[in-house]
Amino acid sequence: MATSKELSDFLEAVERRAFKQTAYAVRDDHAALDIVQDAMMKLAEKYGDKPVAELPLLFQRILQNTMRDFWRRQKVRNLWTSLLSSFGNSEDGEDRDPLDTLDVEDDSDEPSVVLERSQTIKLIESALKKLPTRQREAFVLRYWEDMDVAETASIMGCSDGSVKTHCSRAVHALASELRRQGIDKLGLSNLISSKLGSRS
């Protein structure tokens, strides 16, 4: 059984990645935060008695299911929203502090490198958002979460073969898109090594 400390440590380790992955999937930061919070609560409520080693797989499965629930609800909501679109609310940004929503970047690098990295990340994010849902899921779980094919298949609820197909298509589409934007392996390696260099 996981203790409170173990659960807290686990969630702290995965929460940022989970948020970004969800944000890429639902394309709405507020909804992504709600989904991650729901997933955390469900994990604690239903699977708090499970050993810590099982938490990553369970959390990913809960997260993916919560995203699917969100899309189902969103479908229904969109129907009503389109019907009642004339009553759209206008946002007033008076109470918003720009510093609160400013992404924090390390300022240890050269400004040109920081700019290049931020532009590259934006391109990668955009390419990732363009992928079909299942391909993005497969890519995120296999390459980002570093899960094996069987674990990914278990989370996605499909066969190992399907995971391999989704991954292959996702990787090919992503690589083609990045190359089309002028990003190659060397460029990415340089960005990563410059980051590591600045840390050390």
Binding site: M1, A2, S4, L7, S8, L11, E12, E15, R16, R17, F19, K20, D29, L33, V36, Q37, M40, M41, L43, A44, E45, G48, L99, D100, T101, L102, D103, V104, E105, D106, R117, T120, I121, I124, E125, L128, F139, V140, Y143, W144, S168, A170, V171, H172, L174, A175, L178, R179, D184, K185, L188, S189, L191, I192, K195
Partner: protein, 149 residues
């Protein structure tokens, strides 16, 4: 024939090399994304921290509840708590089930009632061999029973 084979081999090698390069690019991209995910704005970090605290407090509460049950040994109390919690969560569902059960009961009773009272209906009287006055006659049943005897 041999030439075709060698062309196929070259194609396969080329495809393998290309997919390996794609895969490396994908790993590098996910490394960069992972790195980027560590730099979120203050509001998001605050929300994530609050969510984590809520989840941990949820776990602490459920573990304390479980520990309480183990100490007192009251399984019935645990069932009762679980039922109450579920009842609160699914109040609408329970109400709907009750209304449906009532509607179903009403429907069944009505159907059964019609079958039972068919001999008192107009159709029965009109289709019967005897005139309607015969059924209204109080002494008719007695006469029928005595005739059967």
């Amino acid at each position: 024939m041999r030439k075709n084979k060698s062309i196929n081999n070259i194609d396969n090698d080329h495809l393998k090399a290309e997919s390996a390069a794609d895969e490396q690019l994908a790993y590098l991209a996910s490394n960069l994304l992972d790195d980027h995910a560590q730099h979120l704005n203050a509001t998001t970090l605050q929300r994530l921290s609050e969510a984590r605290a809520l989840a941990v407090s949820q776990l602490t509460a459920s573990q304390a509840e479980l520990a309480g049950i183990n100490q007192s040994g009251s399984v019935l109390q645990w069932f009762s708590n679980g039922f109450n919690r579920n009842f609160e969560q699914h109040r609408m569902m329970f109400s709907l089930i009750i209304v449906l059960a009532m509607a179903l009961t009403f429907f069944v009773v009505k159907q059964y009632g019609v079958d039972k009272n068919i001999e008192h209906s107009d159709a029965f009287l009109l289709a019967a061999e005897l005139p309607p006055e015969a059924f209204a006659d109080k002494g008719f049943d007695t006469w029928l029973v005595s005739k059967q005897d």
